[in-house]
């Protein structure tokens, strides 16, 4: 319990409006992405995790800390909200420095940590400019800096890549990976599914306040039985391979790639299909590559939540 973020039967209602309902989660170290359409409960889950809103029911423990004990909780948690919000009139450095002081760091330590965080998000040159004069991307970066300035073990980041240019995105993703590689817990919410796919160790899919699925994306995909697995195979004789696959009853649908050098196959049992494919490969068909075509976040999202809200 002390090495996980635990949600035990957590519900949050805003009056009669559902925030999240009956959430049970156990989040391990690494990068965990919260994925879901607008209003699915991602931000509520993050606010619950950081104690900013209290659950209507259930309990939350963050590495053994109760969320209603800010003194112990915020020693290990850093939170960056999705809102473009800053106290008025502060420079980037003052913003970080003052919040580190509020967090209880002595002045000299707060200065050191503030500069360290500023360097980590590459904001050194703009540190003494007023936050109000920053571009959207700079404000996003300084917000990230305030979340990680006090070296928390749990980083909760609501839409952290919004407003960042591609280079800054790559830098931030590297930053998240670096934190995760040290054993930190990086919780991210995002709409940008291909980035979620790249960076996440595990995902939590939310819809209408309920957790629809959680875990490593491949495991989640394998649990979705009603949608056959899609596999892309590049080979020299795709038509022959397709016929054999139908014969061995492993394929339920096959489409030949337009360059006639591959096929997209749907199967209900990917493991048995791979075994069958081994045998076929031994019978003279040259197989160049085999890759699952739908075990990514985007596909899982489409299958479980629907394609309307997908942001590619």
């Amino acid at each position: 319990m002390n090495d996980r973020i635990i949600f035990e039967d957590v519900s949050k209602f805003y009056g009669e409006i559902l925030g999240v309902n009956r959430v049970n989660l156990s989040i391990p170290p690494g990068i965990t992405s919260l994925v879901g359409p607008n209003g699915s409960g991602k931000t509520t889950l993050m606010n619950l995790m950081t104690g900013l809103v209290k659950p209507s029911r259930g309990q939350i423990h963050v590495l053994g800390n109760r969320t209603d004990d800010p003194e112990s909780l915020f020693k290990v948690v850093g939170y960056s909200t999705q809102f473009d919000a800053f106290p008025k009139g502060l420079t980037g450095f003052q913003f970080l420095f003052s919040y580190l002081m509020v967090s209880g760091r002595p002045s000299s330590e707060a200065q050191r940590l503030a500069w360290q965080a500023i360097e980590r998000v590459n904001m050194g040159e703009a540190a003494h400019r007023n936050v109000a004069s920053y571009s959207k991307g700079m404000r996003q970066r300084i917000r990230l800096a305030q979340a990680l300035a006090h070296d928390p073990k749990v980083l909760v980041l609501d839409e952290p890549l919004n407003g960042l240019d591609p280079l800054a995105r790559a830098e931030m993703i590297a930053l998240f990976r670096s934190a995760a590689s040290q054993g930190c817990y990086v919780i991210i919410s995002s709409h940008i599914l291909h980035e979620v796919d790249i960076i996440s160790d595990q995902v939590v899919l939310l819809s209408n306040g309920y957790v629809v699925a959680e875990g490593q994306i491949q495991n989640v995909r394998s649990e979705i039985q009603e949608h056959p697995s899609q596999i892309m195979i590049r080979c020299n004789r795709p038509r022959e391979l397709a016929a054999k696959m139908f014969t061995s009853e492993q394929a339920i649908e096959v489409s030949i790639h337009k360059d006639e050098r591959g096929l997209l196959l749907k199967t209900r049992d990917a493991d048995r299909f791979y075994l069958a494919l081994n045998e076929l490969a031994l019978n003279g068909i040259e197989i160049e590559s085999i890759a699952p075509a739908d075990d990514d976040v985007l596909s899982v999202y489409e299958y479980l939540i629907g394609s309307e809200e997908v942001v590619r």
Partner: protein, 285 residues
């Protein structure tokens, strides 16, 4: 699944005491008060009257000088009435200063959505309110009871120990009446600025509560032929308490107990309003 090296090392150094963290907020907020030239100017103006009082006390003990300029020494009597007048003027200035400074304390944080940033630290709502109200408390103290006590000490040093001992209660009254007024003004200003996020409107509303409240109270008294209207008149309520504290001989329409209870109710309502708004997230139903 990634393999983690678990090389993370948490901060193991000392932390500042929990009780002292509201002072960070106080420091930054106070600095922002003096960024405005108008507020700084008004703050300076608030010392003119104490300075004049200081001169009057000095003159009251300079019989030869008074005789030289032809003013009878009896005119300048330094007693509880003198300090009551001092408190009345400084109280009015304190209100004016609060109308400028108070709305700028909480409303910008609410308007800019900065409260979640405060509350995702080891920092509570009470500490936030304490930090912000400390700005007003210190600022208003500097123009009310602190100069008041300085004047008292000055008078005591010139009039002698016997005067000081027999009038020590005046110093207590100065401090108590100032602190009461500071508490009312701080809570009222912050509650209004929390509910009305637009700073100028919050300032105007503070003036309205004082002046329209007094006007409304008078109207109630006139129409209903009662004294209950005074309960809407906050300056009158405070005046009643001050008159009692300084033992000034003036008739008041309501009793001192009623005034105390009414002020306490005002403070409680303001605190409740304030804590309802100062939250990490505002839930709009």
């Amino acid at each position: 699944m990634a393999v983690y090296r678990r090389s993370y090392k948490p901060y193991a150094g000392t932390l500042t005491p929990e009780w002292s963290r509201f002072l960070v907020l106080f420091r930054y907020s106070r600095r922002s008060v003096f960024r405005s030239k108008v507020q700084t100017g008004l703050f300076v103006i608030c010392f003119f009257f104490p300075l004049a009082c200081l001169i009057l006390i000095y003159l009251a003990h300079s019989a030869s000088f008074l005789a030289k300029i032809g003013i009878p020494a009896q005119i300048l009597s330094i007693d509880s009435k003198f300090f009551f007048r001092f408190m009345s003027v400084q109280g009015a200035l304190a209100f004016l200063l609060t109308a400028f400074v108070g709305p700028g304390l909480v409303s910008p944080d609410l308007a800019n959505g900065a409260l979640p940033l405060f509350f995702c630290r080891p920092f509570s709502r009470s500490e936030y309110v304490l930090g912000k109200s400390a700005v007003l408390a210190v600022l208003l103290s500097e123009i009310t009871w602190i100069p008041g006590v300085i004047l008292f000490v000055m008078q005591a040093s010139l009039a002698g120990a016997s005067w000081a001992w027999s009038n020590l209660w005046i110093a207590g009254s100065l401090i108590l009446s100032s602190l009461l007024w500071i508490a009312v003004l701080s809570l009222l200003a912050m509650a209004l600025s929390a509910w009305v996020k637009w700073r100028i409107v919050a300032g105007a509303l503070l003036l309205a509560v004082m002046f329209f409240g007094a006007g409304f109270g008078q109207a109630v008294n006139a129409v209903l032929r009662t004294d209950f209207g005074y309960f809407f008149n906050l300056p009158y309520l405070m005046g009643t308490v001050w008159i009692a504290l300084f033992q000034v001989d003036m008739e008041q329409a309501i009793s001192i107990t009623q005034a105390w209870v009414a002020i306490l109710v005002y403070c409680t309502v303001c605190l409740w309003l304030l804590l309802r708004k100062v939250r990490a997230y505002e839930v709009i139903r």
